[in-house]
């Protein structure tokens, strides 16, 4: 599913964010990326969703070599992936419904389909009755649920999550994890960046540990 082959990423002032990274993640795997702040977790995710370009090496996702994807193709590539960020990245002037519907609207789906699907996901997330509220009126856990539903609504093969539980209390965090686990059981590949040790121990999944840009 994902292949990193001797990938290097060097930021200005010779800071090596990634230093010869090679790994493979199989389709349907649930993998944790872990390591202290600045270890390179976020850089790996940024390379995967094409916000950054590697300085050396190749990255393959699915059957596609995304190392030098043209800027024209990037939006369509991103539609095949779901993202969840620590800070939710929701549109705060839009309702819960609009936020979840966004990827479908962008993909140009028809309104009837969007309505049916979004309502289904609102129910799944336990947000019934809150669909017309803006994110201002939601708790942290609820905001993250909206973000997750937005990521899942297109049925992506791959979900990338960058510290999605970082801003949440324990109870909400476990609720969120369960959603990821269930999606993974249904065949979705999950790459989950976190430095939450308790989470890593309890989940018992494969861990890619990073330190100063290298896999250890």
């Amino acid at each position: 599913m994902i292949k990193f082959n001797h990938v290097y990423k060097i930021y200005e002032k010779n800071i090596k964010a990634l230093d010869d990274i090679t790994f493979t993640i199989e389709k349907g795997e649930f993998v944790f990326l872990t390591g202290p702040t600045g270890a390179g977790k976020t850089t790996i995710l940024k390379l995967l969703y094409k916000e950054e370009v590697p300085d050396m090496g190749t990255i393959i996702v699915g059957s596609q070599d995304i190392t030098h994807l043209s800027s024209r193709k990037i939006p369509f590539y991103r539609r095949s992936i779901g993202f969840v960020f620590q800070d939710f990245k929701l549109l705060f002037d839009r309702t819960v419904y609009d936020n979840i519907a966004l990827p479908l609207v962008i993909a140009g789906e028809n309104n009837k389909y969007i309505k049916k699907r979004v309502n289904e996901y609102i129910e799944k997330a336990g947000l019934l009755g809150k669909e017309n509220l803006t994110p201002w009126h939601l708790s942290g856990g609820e905001k993250q649920k909206v973000a997750i539903m937005r990521a899942f609504i297109t049925n992506p093969d791959l979900i990338l999550a960058d510290e999605p539980t970082g801003n949440l209390d324990d109870e909400s965090a476990w609720e969120i994890i369960k959603i990821f686990e269930e999606a993974n059981k249904n065949g979705t590949t999950v790459v989950f960046a976190t430095h939450n040790k308790e989470l890593l121990e309890k989940m018992n999944k494969r861990i890619i540990k990073l330190l100063q840009g290298r896999i250890v």
Binding site: P75, F83, K89, L91, P103, V105, I106
Partner: protein, 293 residues
């Protein structure tokens, strides 16, 4: 549908900015419109005046008719000359005594004091054309005097040309500055919404999808600016026409520029189109920067 929602959100978020952008387009449209109307009016009245200007060549009494006719024929072949016409002293006399005062003056003369003359109309009254003709006439025999009321007209044309150039310069400055204002305001909107744009990009929005609302916003600003600009011009013209009618009794409302067919339809259409073009190019200018964000 999404794009229209976006436009409304932007307008709600930055209504004051939108008003500045629309206001600048209004000012530009009013200035360009004023320039156009003034220019057209000047052109129209100049052509009316030019039609009445004639160069009159007075001939000595001893020139025989055959020579005069030859001269008229020769003048007609000159390329700048629209028409040349012989006016006999009798014809001139008949023309003069139509005026009662002149008639009473003429009574004092025993014989007709008026000379034979040739009236010449030029195709256009530029200094060069007039000088060429006068130099040509100076080489001819039997000419007593040459008169033309063109000097003042020539000066007037020169002054109007200078005014025209100034107006064009002011117009260009305003077109450029309104493009900048519109594009900068859309830039600010893009900056204010950079997080939202990032989110849109992350969930797979193409650049076109992100741009459409901003372009639409520019177009709407342009439309509103053009419409309001036209309305302001309409009011100005109405007030001016009423004032002119009150002061001088002249009714210009029949003049083609100010009749409803032109002013309320074609001119309205042109103002709105100009506004929309300004808004469109203003927003395009700012969208180059979208890519980098």
């Amino acid at each position: 549908m999404y794009a229209i929602k976006e436009v409304f959100t932007n307008f709600k978020k930055s209504g004051f900015m939108s008003l500045i952008s629309i206001g600048t387009i209004i000012i530009t449209i009013v200035i360009l419109g004023n320039y156009y109307l003034a220019n057209e009016s000047i052109k129209y009245f100049l052509s009316k005046i030019e039609n009445k200007i004639e160069i009159v060549v007075f001939l000595k009494d001893d020139v025989v008719l055959e020579k005069i006719n030859n001269l008229v024929m020769e003048l007609k072949t000159v390329s700048d000359v629209e028409d040349a016409k012989f006016v006999s002293k009798e014809d001139a006399y008949q023309e003069f005594i139509k005026d009662k005062e002149i008639f009473s003056i003429m009574q004092n003369f025993e014989t007709n004091p008026l000379p034979n003359s040739i009236k010449i109309k030029l195709k256009s009254y530029t200094k060069k054309n007039i000088d060429n003709l006068i130099n040509l006439l100076k080489t001819k025999e039997g000419i007593e005097d040459i008169q033309y009321g063109g000097k003042e007209i020539e000066n007037l044309v020169n002054i109007l040309n200078v005014i025209k150039i100034i107006a064009i310069a002011v117009g260009i400055i305003f077109v450029i500055s309104s493009l900048f204002v519109v594009s900068n305001i859309i830039n600010l909107t893009i900056y204010a919404r950079r997080n939202d744009i990032y989110i849109l990009k992350m969930v797979g929005a193409t650049n076109t999808f992100i741009r459409i609302p901003f372009i639409l916003e520019g177009l709407i600003h342009g439309f509103l600016g053009g419409l309001t600009g036209w309305f302001i011009l309409y009011i100005i013209v109405k007030i001016l026409l009423t004032e002119i009618k009150k002061q001088t009794g002249l009714d210009f409302s029949t003049f083609y520029l100010f009749n409803p067919e032109f002013f309320s339809f074609k001119f309205l259409f042109a103002s709105i189109s100009a506004g929309i073009l300004l808004g469109f190019f203003g927003s395009l200018l700012s969208l180059g920067k979208l890519k980098e964000k």
